[in-house]
C-alpha cells in the first residue's frame, strides 16, 4: 500500500531524511516513533504530497506522490501536525466543507457525515463552533475529517499530543477501530501508545530508520528494559542470594532504605514478568513486602538501548 524508497530530504543547511526505505502492507497500523527532528513530520508531509522530496520515491496505492499527487490525495486522509482546523466554523459545517474539497457530495455526504460523526462521537456537538471546543474534541474533528472520504491510507501526525489520559484512551480505541478498514500510519513520541495501537513500529532518529519492528519485537525490547521494583524487609545477604538464584532475573541492584527495608531493582530475562515469581519467593521466605511495581521503560531508555545516544526529548 505504501512504498518508500531511498527517500531523502535536504533543507538549506541540514538533511532531514537520509535514504529512508520501508513499505507498509494493506491494513497495517504502523507507528512512527522518534523524538523531535527525527524526520517523522517530514516523511508524512512528503507522503501527503504537501512537500516534494529531494530524492527518492514514494508510492501510495500504486501512485507516485510526485507524479500523480491528485490521485494520491484522493486516497489519503491526512491530519497534519497540531491538527489545524478552521476555528471559526461549526463542526458539521467544517466537515461539509472538507467533504466538498474531497469530492464527497449528495447522498454519500449525508451518509458519511452521519457515520463519521457517530464514529468519532461528535454527533452531539456537531453544531458547536470548533474554536470553542476542547482539544480532545478538536482532535476528533481532525480524525473525522481524515476518514471522511474513506481513504485507503490514513496518515496522522502526532494525533494524541496534548490530550489528557482519558482522551488518549478514547483515541486509541478510535484508531484501533479504524484499523479494520484502513491502512494507518501515525507518529508519536510516546512508547506506550504505539505499543497498544500499532502492529508495527518504525523508530526514526536523525532522519534514519533505527529499528523496524513488529509489535512482538517491540514487546520484547520493552520487556527487556522493564524494571521491577520491590521494597522488602529482609536481611541483605539472604535477599541477594535469593535473587541470584532466580533463573529469570537478568540483573539486580539492592539499596538500603533504612528502617529495615531494602529496595531492589530487577530486570528480567526474555521479558518474563518477575512480579509473581518475586512475590512467591518473598512469601516462601516469610519476608515482608511493602511495594511491588514494574516500571515501563521510556522512549529514552529504548533509544539508549538502540543507539547509546540520549536524544533530547524535552521538547518532543
Amino acid at each position: 500500500m505504501i512504498e518508500v524508497e531511498q527517500l531523502t530530504k535536504r533543507y538549506a543547511g541540514h538533511t532531514a531524511l537520509r535514504a529512508l526505505s520501508f513499505s507498509v502492507k494493506k491494513g497495517q497500523v504502523v507507528g512512527f516513533l522518534g523524538p523531535n527532528g527525527a524526520g517523522k513530520s517530514t516523511t508524512m508531509r512528503i507522503m501527503s504530497t504537501f512537500m516534494p522530496a529531494t530524492s527518492g520515491r514514494v508510492q501510495i496505492a500504486g501512485y507516485d506522490v510526485a507524479r500523480k499527487p491528485m490521485e494520491v490525495r484522493k486516497r489519503i486522509g491526512y491530519m497534519p501536525e497540531n491538527n489545524p482546523l478552521h476555528l471559526d466554523m461549526r463542526v458539521d459545517e467544517y466537515l461539509r466543507f472538507r467533504a466538498g474539497l474531497k469530492g464527497v457530495s449528495g447522498e454519500r455526504l449525508r451518509v458519511r457525515l452521519g457515520e463519521v460523526l457517530e464514529l468519532c462521537d461528535l454527533t452531539e456537538v456537531k453544531r458547536k463552533i470548533i474554536g470553542q471546543m476542547s482539544k480532545g474534541f478538536r482532535q476528533r474533528v481532525g480524525v473525522a475529517d481524515a476518514i471522511l472520504h474513506q481513504p485507503e491510507v490514513i496518515i496522522l501526525d502526532e494525533p494524541t499530543i496534548g490530550l489528557d489520559p482519558h482522551q488518549v484512551r478514547l483515541f486509541r480505541k478510535l484508531i484501533i477501530s479504524l484499523a479494520r478498514e484502513h491502512t494507518v500510519l501515525l507518529s508519536t513520541h510516546i512508547l506506550s501508545e504505539v505499543e497498544i495501537t500499532c502492529d508495527r513500529i518504525l523508530i526514526l532518529h536523525g532522519g534514519r530508520i533505527l529499528a523496524d519492528d513488529s509489535k512482538e519485537d517491540i514487546h520484547r525490547r520493552v520487556g527487556a528494559l522493564t524494571h521491577v521494583v520491590a521494597e522488602v524487609a529482609a536481611p541483605w545477604e539472604s535477599l541477594s542470594q535469593s535473587l541470584e538464584a532466580m533463573p529469570s532475573v537478568a540483573d539486580f541492584k539492592v539499596e538500603d532504605l533504612k528502617h529495615g527495608f531494602l529496595k531492589c531493582h530487577l530486570t528480567a530475562k526474555d521479558a518474563v514478568d518477575l512480579r509473581p515469581l518475586l512475590f512467591e519467593e518473598i512469601k516462601r521466605r516469610g519476608w515482608t513486602l511493602r511495594e511491588l511495581t514494574h516500571q515501563q521503560p521510556t522512549l529514552e531508555d529504548l533509544f539508549v538501548q538502540l543507539t547509546d545516544v540520549r536524544p533530547n526529548l524535552k521538547d518532543a
Binding site: S48, P80, E81, N82, L85, F97, G100
Partner: protein, 248 residues
C-alpha cells in the same frame, strides 16, 4: 467545478461570518459617507459641471478606500492559512493550486464589489435631484463600476501575491500596500516628464492609474486600459500561482 464552488463559498463565508469582513465594510462605508458629504458640500447651490461619478472620484477618499481596503481584504488569504497550518490541510486534498489561487482571488473580488454597493446607492439617490440625466446615466455608472472593479482586481491580485509570500498577515498587508503605493506613485511620473512625446511619456502614460480612472468615471472605456488591467492582474495572479507551486 464543484470543488471550486466549495472553496469560493468558504472564502466568501469567512468575510461574511467573521468580524474581519464587517470591520472592512464599516471602514469603507464611513469613507464613502465622507466622500458623499464632501460632494454635497462642494456642489451645494452650484451647477454641476461634470458627471456625479467624477465628483466622487475627485474627493480624496476614493484612493484612500482602494489603497487601504485591498490589502486589508487580501492579507489573510494565504498568510492566515499558512500561520494556522490549515494551508497544509487544504493542499493535501484533491484541489489544484490554480483552483486555490483563483478562489481566493475571486472571493476577495466579490467582497470588494459588495463593499462598494453603498456608493451606487448614494449615487442613485443623489441622481434624483438632477434635471440633466447626462450627469448620471447608465454608461457613466457602468464605466465607473468597471473602473473600480478593474483597479480593485489589480490591487487584490497584488495583495494575493503579498499574502502567499509570507506567513504574517501584517507583513502581507504592508507588502501589498507598498507595492500598491509604488504603482500609485508611478502614476505621478507622467506629469513630471519635461518631454511629453517620447517613449517614456508613452510608457508612464499607459500605467497612469489617474488617467485610467479619469476616463472610466466619465463613462469612457478605452481598450488600452482594459488590456492594462487584464494583463497586470493576470501577471500578479500568475506569480501567485507560481509561488504556490514552488512550495518546498
Amino acid at each position: 467545478m464543484r470543488v471550486f464552488q466549495t472553496l469560493l463559498r468558504r472564502e466568501l463565508g469567512f468575510f461574511l461570518t467573521t468580524l474581519t469582513g464587517y470591520v472592512i465594510l464599516s471602514m469603507v462605508m464611513f469613507l464613502i459617507g465622507l466622500s458623499l458629504l464632501t460632494v454635497i458640500l462642494a456642489y451645494n447651490g452650484r451647477a454641476m459641471d461634470a458627471p456625479l461619478t467624477e465628483a466622487f472620484y475627485g474627493t480624496p477618499f476614493f484612493w484612500f478606500i482602494v489603497l487601504l481596503a485591498c490589502p486589508a481584504i487580501t492579507m489573510r488569504s494565504f498568510a492566515h492559512e499558512k500561520s494556522t497550518g490549515t494551508y497544509e490541510a487544504l493542499m493535501t486534498t484533491p484541489v489544484s493550486n490554480l483552483q486555490v489561487v483563483l478562489s481566493k482571488f475571486l472571493a476577495s473580488w466579490v467582497f470588494y464589489g459588495l463593499m462598494w454597493l453603498p456608493l451606487w446607492g448614494f449615487m442613485a439617490w443623489l441622481g434624483q435631484f438632477f434635471n440633466d440625466p447626462e450627469y448620471l446615466d447608465a454608461g457613466i455608472m457602468g464605466g465607473t463600476a468597471l473602473g473600480v472593479m478593474l483597479l480593485g482586481g489589480l490591487f487584490l491580485a497584488i495583495g494575493c501575491l503579498a499574502s502567499v509570500a509570507t506567513k504574517s498577515q501584517l507583513i502581507a498587508a504592508m507588502l501589498a500596500l507598498t507595492l500598491e503605493m509604488v504603482l500609485f506613485m508611478l502614476s505621478f511620473v507622467i506629469e513630471l516628464l519635461p518631454d511629453q512625446s517620447g517613449w517614456q511619456a508613452a510608457l508612464f502614460g499607459h500605467i497612469c492609474l489617474f488617467d485610467h480612472m479619469g476616463d472610466f468615471v466619465r463613462g469612457i472605456i478605452d481598450g488600452g486600459h482594459l488590456v492594462f488591467y487584464i494583463t497586470t492582474t493576470g501577471l500578479f495572479l500568475f506569480l501567485t500561482w507560481r509561488l504556490v507551486e514552488s512550495r518546498k
